[in-house]
């Protein structure tokens, strides 16, 4: 079992870590320069959506590889996914309130 363990912990090795690192660097530079594009012609707020999509991708690489979740047990997957699910509930339940306060007594 301990032999299996040692082999299992090898993960992606140094070249793999370097590749992930380079992906993150490219993502950062891309985020920076994409913020100058005027994507409002697609729809207002498209810039933010693109920036968040890149950030989410970067986060997935960090979580899966740097934090070893890809090789972790199902329990750790559950903890990771559940925390973001709770976050989503907080965003959704808060915003369904604010989205429906456009006018009237409880408006701004």
């Amino acid at each position: 079992m301990s032999d299996n363990h040692a082999e299992h912990e090898e993960h992606i090795g140094i070249p793999g870590y370097i590749v992930i690192f380079l992906i993150l660097v490219v993502g950062t530079i891309f985020t920076y320069f994409s913020s100058f594009w005027d994507l409002d012609s697609i729809f207002p707020g498209a810039n933010t959506l693109l920036a968040l999509a890149i950030a989410f991708t970067k986060m997935m690489f960090v979580i899966l590889y740097f934090m070893h979740v890809r090789w972790s047990s199902k329990t750790i997957w559950l903890a990771a996914v559940a925390s973001f699910f709770w976050l989503l509930i907080m965003f959704a339940f808060t915003m369904q309130d604010y989205f429906t306060r456009v006018s009237g007594v409880f408006s701004a």
């Binding site: 079992m1 140094i14 992930i20 690192f21 985020t31 913020s35 933010t48 740097f66």
Partner: protein, 291 residues
């Protein structure tokens, strides 16, 4: 590692007595760390929710405030943190390999980059302080006249008198300083203003500099709280790394026992992830309006 239940004398170094073996210990420790990180996500999540609510209501004020942050520093700090994440991942790697020298070297590098991050943050905070952008009344008394900064020169808003011309400092009351309403003008022309903004920036149909300033102040409040809390996490992380450096130096960690390195790494990467989101959400709003 099967039937050694009776001969417990040969405990591995670092194995706590309540665990069967190192695998089980490492697994339990990681799960506990993830449970901690889950509550950290909720902790920062409250602030992200505040950000979401107020940015949804006042997007132009957020864009205006964000445009005064320097994305060069923010981007540099993102890269610095990513490098530190790489060295942290390599710390875990070398701890698993039992390579003490490189492990110590990687910890030192991680701490170095973490310190660079905090140094850049200090430069940024100083700049905000010098421009009177601390969102607390009374904390901006030392703001000096700076004609090069666009937001201090007279723009599209009606000027609000702050002190008199003889004063060395332009802001004797220490009020939050914001006079640039050009983005409101732009949004008005493009018909981008939200319902909240039409109420929140205007008085009798005219752009109200004071009302707009208060919305920009909201952005800076969120900026300081979020980056401040993040910086606090960095400082705590540096403390953890210092402890780790000592333990690694005396050769505690090896292929069998590296759980503390692993969970310190989880914490460090988490702090990196928070910044990965803070950078675009705080520094890069509405830049396409200016360029």
């Amino acid at each position: 590692m099967t039937a050694h239940g009776d001969t417990h004398e040969h405990h591995e170094p670092g194995l706590q007595h309540q665990f069967e073996d190192m695998n089980q210990q490492e697994e339990s420790v990681s799960i506990a760390m993830w449970a901690f990180l889950a509550q950290e996500i909720m902790f920062f999540g409250g602030l992200f929710t505040a950000y979401l609510v107020f940015r949804w209501r006042f997007p132009m004020a957020f864009a205006a405030g964000s445009n005064h942050l320097d994305p060069f520093w923010g981007g540099l700090n993102t890269l610095v943190l990513i490098v530190s994440s790489l060295t942290m991942a390599l710390t875990v790697y070398y701890a698993q390999k039992g390579n003490r020298t490189l492990q110590v070297a990687m910890i030192v590098l991680t701490m170095l980059f973490g310190s660079v991050f905090l140094g850049v943050k200090a430069i940024e905070y100083t700049d905000k302080y010098n421009h009177g952008l601390v969102p607390v009344t009374g904390w901006n008394k030392k703001v000096k006249e700076d004609t090069s900064a666009p937001h201090v020169t007279e723009q599209d808003c009606t000027q609000v008198g702050h002190g008199d011309g003889d004063d060395h400092y332009v802001n004797p009351k220490g009020e939050f300083q914001w006079k640039d309403c050009s983005l409101v003008k732009l949004a008005q022309e493009k018909n981008y203003l939200t319902a909240d903004e039409k109420i929140g920036y205007f008085t009798n149909g005219e752009i109200d500099a004071d009302k707009f300033r208060d919305k920009v102040r909201l952005f800076y409040f969120i900026y300081f709280v979020m980056t401040g809390l993040h910086a606090l996490h960095m400082i705590i992380g540096l403390g953890v790394m210092l402890w780790l450096l000592w333990k690694a130096w005396i050769g505690t960690y090896g292929p069998k026992y590296y759980a503390p390195v692993e969970i310190s790494g989880l914490y460090w990467h988490f702090v990196d992830i928070v910044w990965i989101f803070l950078f675009p959400l705080l520094y890069l709003l509405g830049r396409h309006f200016l360029h």
